[in-house]
């Protein structure tokens, strides 16, 4: 299969197309964050680094960063707003209510 590209491929004719709907590129170009009405924000003072939000994020647009807390290795969730659609699963699932929301203004 051809190399993947990060820009959307527009086929000029069927000669360039595969015979079936198969992705030849990543979906990186499709910035689904623009769909978001409500922005989730993680309150790191409350966050226990349990990573439940990361597990539940369906997009997935929560990335984990390795950090050290009290000499222990932890994973800090960071929301990728380029792709987060604001579906609400993370703030619903968070066991310590560490994710609050704000209306998107633009």
């Amino acid at each position: 299969m051809p190399k993947k590209s990060e820009v959307k491929i527009i086929f000029e004719s069927i000669k360039d197309m595969p015979p079936l709907a198969v992705s030849l590129y990543t979906m990186d170009y499709n910035k689904t964050g623009s769909w978001r009405n409500v922005r989730p924000i993680i309150d790191y003072d409350k966050c226990t680094y349990c990573t439940i939000c990361w597990k539940f994020c369906p997009e997935p647009s929560i990335d984990l960063e390795k950090i050290e807390v009290d000499g222990k290795e932890k994973f800090k969730p960071i929301i990728n707003y380029k792709y987060c659609k604001g579906c609400g699963i993370c703030w619903t699932e968070c066991p310590v209510d560490a994710i609050y929301t704000e209306e998107e203004s633009e």
Partner: protein
């Protein structure tokens, strides 16, 4: 080697000889011995395949499509309500270009609950893009499974091998068993250019907008059109290796025919003996059996009908609100032709009511008395 087997087992042996690698099936009604025998073959090691028992026909077809997309040969079988339940995934198999092969035993649709033969179940799936092969005996059933894989894998479209409930499915006939080495020679291992591969991940069947979907449909139509000559080529090649040739259609006593009886599956087989009788009486009648219904062999039908005076299409199926389905297709194929005969459509044998030689002779004699087509349906054998 010859074996006396029922039509259901002819499907099983066809899948076995084709070396199906994944078989997914729902094991309860309306399932038949097709899957029973295949599960035994998988259990005793005769067939090196993964047998997946699923909770519905919808899941059976889904498992086949998924497995096929990884580049393995897949098989399933069903009937009537089971086929209807698969409907969504039948479209998926075509769009995903997975050459799944399936056996369908033609049973009438419920309600009322029934298990006897009629073709409306498979004909209701005619617009999905599945290729459809209607068989007239158990030998053809077995041979068609092997050919179906060959054509399906070349054009990357699924194929349905179809046989009449009871008339073939539960009737024992002598069947010549092709030798495995020869089948392997005829049917090379399945290769797929675009397949699911964890080392090279891609999304399959993902959201496609108006900028791409239209072309993908066009490509499918071109692929199924390509299958028209392929069914002929593959049928001939099969004949060279195994001594039994097949094509899109089969004709019988058409050389000097003035009238043509057109039918499919086992009704066409019965029509052959009716034609022998009528020929003895001096009638110039021949038979056109449509074996491959999708892709529809329109060119064959047009050229055969251009030289005759009357055509009679016998359907064991109905499209409510219209007419018999083969009748519609034959009529549509001929509409723009300059030379075409009047085409009479007969519906008979719904729900497995017997269609015998005498019924076909009666149909022929009735039509011979008609000057023109008065109605799209001539009912034969219904008590009104």
């Amino acid at each position: 080697m010859r074996k006396v087997i029922i039509g259901n087992h002819a499907l099983s042996y066809g899948a076995m000889l084709s070396r199906a690698q994944v078989i997914a099936a729902y094991p309860i009604t309306p399932q038949t011995e097709v899957i029973e025998l295949l599960s035994e073959m998988c259990a005793n090691g005769e067939l090196d395949a993964k047998f997946i028992k699923v909770e519905s026909e919808h899941s059976a077809m889904t498992a086949c499509v998924g497995a096929s997309a990884t580049g393995v040969r897949t098989f399933t079988a069903t009937s009537a309500q089971g086929l209807a339940l698969m409907h969504e995934v039948l479209h998926w198999a075509v769009g995903a270009r997975t050459p799944v092969v399936m056996g369908n035993i033609n049973r009438a649709m419920a309600p009322p609950w029934t298990i006897w033969t009629e073709q409306t179940d498979s004909l209701s799936q005619r617009d999905t893009g599945w290729m459809q092969i209607y068989c007239q005996n158990n030998q053809e059933v077995l041979d068609s499974v092997i050919q179906a894989y060959k054509v399906a894998e070349q054009v990357k479209l699924p194929a349905m091998v179809i046989l009449a409930a009871f008339v073939l499915s539960h009737t024992s006939e002598t069947v010549e068993m092709p030798e495995q080495e020869k089948v392997d020679e005829f049917l090379p291992p399945y290769e797929l250019e675009y397949k699911i591969d964890p080392d090279d991940p891609h999304a399959f069947g993902g959201l496609t907008g108006p900028d791409g979907y239209f072309e993908l449909r066009y490509i499918i139509q071109k692929a199924i059109e390509d299958a028209i000559p392929k069914w002929e080529e593959v049928g001939e090649e099969f004949g060279k290796l195994f001594g039994r040739s097949y094509g899109l259609v089969e004709t019988y006593k058409i050389e000097d025919a003035k009238e043509l009886i057109i039918s499919s599956a086992t009704v066409a087989s019965t029509a052959r003996s009716a034609i022998d009788y009528l020929r003895e009486k001096g009638k110039k009648v021949g038979l056109l059996r449509i074996r491959v219904f999708r892709p529809f062999p329109a060119e064959k039908v047009k050229s055969l009908l251009s030289a005759i005076d009357k055509a009679i299409v016998i359907d064991r199926n109905i499209s409510f609100g219209a007419s018999g389905i083969f009748y519609q297709e034959v009529k549509a194929a001929c509409y723009n032709e300059k030379n075409k005969p009047p085409i009479f459509g007969v519906i008979t044998g719904l729900g497995g009511r017997d269609v015998g030689k005498k019924d076909i002779i009666d149909i022929y004699e009735y039509v011979m008395k008609q000057d023109k087509v008065e109605s799209d349906i001539i009912w034969k054998g219904v008590r009104v």
